[in-house]
Symmetry: C2
Subunit: 323 residues, 2 copies
């Protein structure tokens, strides 16, 4: 009877190869030298038994690491609708993947306390409280926060929201604009900083409202404002996707951009489905992602907290013109 033979373990392989368990382990991990002959004997035994390599769960327990990094991004559906978030995620994944770490999506409400995470990235603009925070702190899980609340003990990755926004505002001022309105993100660190930068130049800028970074959301937000917009000659948005929504809605209502209305964004993402290039503040999304991932690696390796602040650059496109 062969029966329901359980999967072979490293001990089986070692026995079959005629070596000790520890030697077999070394043959796989390479953590200490093993003679070529022995290694081959072990690998041959493994192949013969159908052993598919050391059980990751066992290794994880022994080493105290899971190889998995969590990334909190709010609601998946909305978070990834913004190309800026994707560009950032892409860079994070690339660096972590190269280091052999996996990236686990954490949505807002799920119960993730039962998952072993080596570190967590918090990248939710617009959310400054988090149910899981206390638990992560209690479990001593390193936390890397991107443009988020300055939680004690966490590494902080940020960009120059305020200076960038101010530069953009100055560009509009130089074009002769004096009455500027703005569309903001939900109350959050980036929202406050970007608005502050705008107010450095236009202290009385009118807030049309807040919405998430989504074309349709911005469109419906500004819809009724555009028909009766008073003296406003420019709308500054806190994301390019919002700006795209404003451009589309303005046109739908017969306004020329930038002739009748200048529109500006933030992020510097590609909007190929828009036939003009947005004037915007370009942030180094890939750099931000890489810096985030490297902060994670550092924290996992036990390094101290080192915050990162990245520069941004004004890019003048075709969506802004003389007042």
């Amino acid at each position: 009877m062969s029966g329901p033979t359980r999967a072979p373990t490293l001990a089986d392989v070692a026995a079959s190869a005629g070596v000790s368990l520890s030697t077999a382990s070394l043959a796989f991990s390479g953590n200490k030298p093993v003679s070529a002959a022995t290694r081959e004997r072990v690998l041959a035994a493994a192949t013969e038994l159908g052993y598919s390599g050391p059980n990751p769960l066992a290794r994880n327990l022994r080493q105290g690491r899971s190889g998995v990094v969590g990334i909190a991004v709010g609601q998946l559906s909305t978070a990834f609708r913004d190309p800026a978030a994707l560009a950032m995620l892409d860079a994070v994944s690339e660096v972590l993947g190269a280091a052999g770490l996996g990236l686990l999506l954490m949505s807002d409400d799920d119960e993730h306390a039962r998952l072993p995470l080596d570190a967590v990235i918090y990248d939710i603009c617009g959310r400054e409280t988090w149910a899981a925070y206390d638990d992560l702190v209690a479990r001593d899980v390193p936390l890397v926060v991107v443009e988020g609340p300055d939680w004690p003990g966490s590494t902080y990755i940020d960009i120059e929201h305020r200076a960038g926004s101010a530069a953009l505002a100055e560009h509009l001022h130089a074009l002769g604009h004096r009455d500027v309105a703005t569309v903001t993100l939900a109350a959050s660190h980036p929202q406050r900083e970007r608005e502050a930068g705008l107010r450095d130049v236009f202290p009385h800028a009118r807030v049309l409202g807040e919405c998430e970074s989504d074309v349709a959301a911005a469109q419906s937000l500004v819809a009724h404002h555009l028909d009766d917009r008073g003296p406003v000659t420019a709308v500054v948005c806190q994301s390019d996707v919002q700006a795209a929504g404003v451009v589309l809605e303005a046109r739908r209502r017969g306004l020329r951009v930038p002739g009748d209305l200048s529109v500006a964004g933030f992020d510097g993402v590609a909007t190929p489905w828009l036939d003009l290039e947005l004037t915007t503040v370009v942030q180094p999304l890939a750099d931000k992602g890489r810096a985030t991932a490297e902060a994670v690696l550092g924290r996992i390796a036990g390094a101290g907290v080192t915050d990162v602040l990245l520069p941004v650059a004004l890019r003048v496109g075709d969506s802004t013109g003389p007042a």
Copy 2:
């Protein structure tokens, strides 16, 4: 000296509470009844010692499960640019999250053999080989394949590509179209099936080319075809995002849609930044995601392979009209 006290373990808690290790474990897991008094004593001891709950790594080893499900989506940057993929991912995440499972992103080239995965979802239209496949099979990791290659032993989630495409084609035929061109996805199961459905009605449909599901990619693909398109009166795309690209490019070149050219897509996703509603084949993305997640749960629970085939529906919008 307090020294660098290592984190407390369940054994410490049990000792401090004056109960056995096994009882302390039961107090946390609730897997067998424990008297209320005992449980409270254990929890109190845990709080006092700063014990943050059973170590997930240890539990995972003992239970032989990691609570993590991998999802292979190709390159992150391109995969999530398509709202269809996001809608699907969203549903997957919701169901798995409710079951306490985490979702780990697997990009193409990373080395994920070292991660413990309870199951893997393969959702890469346009890729029919996968370096990790052999390894997953060797490790007996359940595989759920979405619209992908029919790999032995894996659960198969699919939609009615062919029937849907054929229905769309018949709609165009009824409108009088006779010369139809198509933009396809990369060679893959969906690509073949959707094209077959089109050819059920238009056997000689001309393939303009293949590209990924991306607005800009479709735009540049069809750019030169549109100026000299011969008798073609309609373009059928294999995704809505591609269709949006074709619409935009057609307009840029002075063609009216659907006046001069009818354009159709596939998926049924929202394109708010397009001022018309695409004629398309609507697939139940959320259902597909849920079915996928439920298949995963079933396989993890040890159930056998049960494939799923979901229906689609033609939605006639404003992007198609009489030839």
